[in-house]
């Protein structure tokens, strides 16, 4: 299993304002440390028009990371594809892949914030259908010397990307949550699937993915699976809990409302701005989906995923309110005390079952 650190969004939220230039510099430091700690990749996340300066431009940002690292993979997790021109995404991917000597991994998501769709001039109502077409356009542009595509949203006739990527086939992932349509759509096409998991962490999602794939004639063992998992490691559980409550939650609470996840109103009709207690409890203390605490506790709660045949784990342990030092500390302890369990099992499985295909 490959372990990727991230995703990073270079946010400067109101409880912890910082210089964006400093944050982009910190990203380079983090990427270099991730490489030193033994991670397989670093991931970035994007949004547009969010007040805290959330990074909107992943591939150019990764181009700078590429120049200051030599081994780790450069992962978009996720680039919100329907809000982009797919041909531009492919052009950028080819140039970035070439500049990084074949280290790009393209995680592509759908997006959900109405402001972003309106700002980028894309109809939000058909975003799923648009995503599927755009994904196929990117795939063809990067793998075929000349391609054509005739869809509802995109039409291309004998188009060639002059700059060719370094890799023969840049790894591409459908980055989605747990909706039935996205699992089914990816399985139908044999596309790799990356999920944020659900209340149980994601095992049921991969099971559905496999069932769908089988029904569409794709052998599940040939498909790739990736998982986003919120993790955070501190020497004591108490330390982890305090950081989550004070720093993680402040940023998450804003995004819950600002991103439009929660639509509840107060009795006077105004927008509710505090997450209901049960949901907060679930976000903070669902250990299965979000293991945060001592290394032993995180290992225990990550252990089940070893049976899910996951190819890539994106360990999400940096949040908008975290200092560079805090994020790196957790990343280092995770690499030292948790990653060996993930690695060791991979080796054991390879020994037992033969090399992974």
């Amino acid at each position: 299993m490959e372990v990727v650190l991230g995703p990073f969004g270079m946010q400067s939220p109101h409880p912890y304002r910082r210089s964006h230039a400093d944050m982009y510099e910190d990203l380079i430091t983090t990427a270099q440390k991730a490489e030193e700690f033994g991670y397989d990749g670093i991931a970035l996340t994007e949004h547009s028009f969010w007040y805290d300066g959330y990074c909107p431009s992943l591939q150019p940002t990764l181009a700078s990371v590429a120049q200051h690292t030599s081994r780790i993979k450069l992962v978009t997790g996720a680039l919100l594809l329907p809000q982009h021109d797919p041909l531009k995404v492919a052009e950028e991917a080819a140039v970035l892949d070439r500049l990084s000597h074949g280290r790009l991994v393209l995680g592509l998501g759908v997006g959900y914030r109405p402001e972003e769709f309106h700002g980028h001039g894309v109809e939000i109502g058909r975003m799923g259908a648009r995503f599927l077409e755009a994904y196929e356009v990117v795939r063809r542009a990067l793998t075929q010397e000349t391609f054509s595509y005739e869809g509802e949203f995109y039409q291309y006739h004998n188009v060639s990307l002059k700059t060719r990527p370094w890799q023969q086939e840049i790894p591409m992932w459908v980055c989605a949550g747990f909706t039935e349509w996205s699992i089914k759509a990816a399985a139908r096409r044999g596309w790799s699937y990356c999920t944020t998991g659900d209340m149980d962490g994601g095992g049921a999602i991969f099971q559905r993915y496999d069932e769908f794939a089988e029904s569409f004639g794709h052998p599940p063992e040939k498909l790739k699976r990736a998982l986003f998992r919120d993790v955070f490691v501190m020497p004591t559980q108490e330390e982890a809990d305090i950081i989550m409550e004070q720093d993680y939650w402040a940023a998450m609470n804003d995004q819950f409302f600002g991103f439009g996840f929660l639509r509840e109103k107060n009795p006077d009709g105004s927008q509710m701005t505090e997450v209901p207690p049960p949901m907060k409890e679930m976000m903070l203390n669902n250990r299965l989906a979000r293991p945060r605490g001592t290394p032993a506790m995180v290992r225990e709660h990550l252990a089940p995923i070893l049976d899910w045949n996951i190819d890539m784990l994106i360990a999400r342990m940096n949040w908008a309110n975290f200092t560079l030092e805090r994020g790196l500390r957790s990343a280092e302890v995770f690499a030292r005390d948790v990653m060996p369990m993930l690695r060791q099992t991979t080796v054991e499985k390879q020994t037992f079952e033969g090399p992974a295909q």
């Binding site: 230039a21 300066g53 021109d85 950028e92 980028h120 001039g121 995004q255 409302f257």
Partner: protein, 303 residues
């Protein structure tokens, strides 16, 4: 006077050699490095912003300029975002020059609207834009004012994180660039764009393929229009790209001869056309000696 370099990147397959040259140019005191958008062949770079962002943290001082940017293929909003990221990575060294409308089969108004939009998006907070070629956000109605407009005070302020699901009439491009607004240039080969740029304080750019005499004439026309419009010289930076070579032959588009000849030619053009920034157009990384030019020509331009 500033001196930069640009590459005909499509003839140089080795991108790493170009990145090394940017570092060398930075060390030698060159002021700018320009990469043009091109899709001519496999060596060309279709996304110069990405290429330059990769160079941002390998250099300290050199300005990183996107050249020949088209507006028809890609979104103006994405353009504003990607230049902002380049500017942040380089701590204020990003800039962009737009191609003529003729080079991209559109009308001049399309280029002008894009420039107006990105400059507004970088320097202001929430904005709305209604043009013939661009609407931001996309649901902006026909009764919105033409061009850029700003929200009126509604008597209360609700921060974005308390909006909930919303479809606001005004949006902010974030993050903002490091500089208030990265320098913006436009190719003034076309009369309509020359007039528009001179009237709106957009810096003029002339590329290496126009003859030197014609380039001087165009820059003089630009200045005359700008003067008539009451625009000051300090508002803009006139950029002229030339092929140059110490010891090489001069022609209509190339400045050659000895280092002294080159300096005299550059000084003459400056006095005639108010050029503030020369860009040495290099065919490839072997085309002329960066160090020799920096040692023999730079000091005489600065003196």
């Amino acid at each position: 006077m500033r001196v930069g370099i640009s590459y005909d990147i499509q003839t140089t397959a080795d991108w790493e050699a170009i990145l090394s040259d940017i570092e060398a140019a930075d060390t030698l005191g060159y002021d700018s490095f320009w990469v043009s958008e091109s899709r001519e062949n496999g060596s060309a770079c279709s996304v110069p912003a990405l290429f330059l962002t990769s160079a941002a943290r390998r250099t300290r001082n050199i300005q990183l300029r996107i050249g020949g940017r088209t507006v028809v293929i890609h979104s103006a909003i994405r353009l504003a975002e990607e230049v902002a990221v380049l500017d942040l990575f380089s701590r204020g060294r990003a800039g962009i020059a737009f191609a003529t409308s003729g080079a991209q089969s559109t009308v001049p108004g399309h280029v002008h609207e894009t420039i107006e939009f990105v400059r507004s998006a970088w320097s202001a907070d929430e904005i709305r834009y209604r043009g013939e070629h661009l609407r931001f956000p996309s649901h902006t109605s026909d009764d919105a004012p033409l061009g850029v407009s700003f929200p009126e005070w509604q008597g209360d302020y609700i921060p974005q994180w308390e909006w909930g699901p919303a479809m606001p009439d005004f949006l902010a491009i974030t993050p903002k660039p490091y500089a208030t607004a990265p320098p913006t240039y436009v190719d003034i080969s076309e009369d309509t764009t020359l007039e528009w740029a001179a009237n709106h304080g957009v810096s003029p750019f002339i590329g290496a393929d126009m003859t030197t005499d014609r380039a001087v004439e165009r820059m003089q026309q630009y200045r005359a229009v700008a003067d008539a419009a009451g625009r000051s010289r300090y508002e803009v930076e006139a950029v002229l790209e030339r092929r140059m070579g110490i010891g090489s032959e001069s022609d209509d588009c190339t400045l050659g001869g000895s280092a002294h000849d080159l300096v005299c030619a550059l000084r003459e053009i400056t006095s005639k056309a108010s050029i503030a920034h020369f860009v040495w157009r290099r065919g490839n990384t072997e085309d002329g000696d960066l160090t020799q030019f920096a040692v023999d020509v730079h000091p005489l331009l600065q003196a």
